[in-house]
Symmetry: C2
Subunit: 120 residues, 2 copies
């Protein structure tokens, strides 16, 4: 497990801290959600942990409260955005082959169109 203190060089740590602007759609004490700046679906939002966690590979049972909050926030957002009834996809990338570009835990929510299979 890696150090979880804020990293001044981390894009998402800086967004969470408000140092870099973003279009926030949700914020609580554990999770911030922002619109992806390169959206791949009509609705494309990132649910980001406030804590600097390198990826989902770092998570353990002790992260249950964070994950519960994150999934609850995603479900609430999808309902409010009107995309829940048709459906949507949640994705998190780990490492190079996963397609991870920012080494700070975030889960993509993509909706508003039919997603295809395989998922990349």
């Amino acid at each position: 497990m890696t150090d979880r203190t804020p990293d001044p060089d981390c894009l998402f740590c800086r967004i969470v801290a408000g140092e870099i602007p973003s279009e926030q759609v949700h914020a609580d004490d554990l999770v911030v959600a922002i619109r992806d700046i390169q959206p791949k679906a009509p609705t494309h939002v990132l649910f980001v942990s406030r804590e600097h966690i390198a990826s989902a590979a770092e998570l353990s049972d002790a992260d249950g409260p964070l994950l519960g909050r994150l999934y609850a926030a995603a479900a609430d957002f999808a309902r409010a955005a009107g995309i829940a009834e048709n459906g949507y996809r949640l994705v998190t990338n780990i490492g190079t082959w996963g397609g991870q570009t920012v080494p700070h835990l975030h889960i993509h929510l993509l909706g508003g169109r039919a997603m295809t299979w395989p998922p990349g």
Copy 2:
């Protein structure tokens, strides 16, 4: 929120109960992991809740213990399978446009190849 009692018509309830054979790679009191029978990557495993939960849209803060266990199991599996260093992707589909085919919570782990973007 929907009823979480086992559904005798649910494929994953029957797999969790051992009524339908599967290739299990992990099992604990909350989560069972099985190989996808139509793999889309060299490693493609499904982390399935024992409880009959219709999808990730049903999850709330109270599901933290389940999610913590599920993500911990996925991370442990990826390390043991030798795919963690290169990286992998976790995906869950909600509803029709999400591409959900079995209405019982499961998170796909795909690895062993470079995943592309967008994720479907």
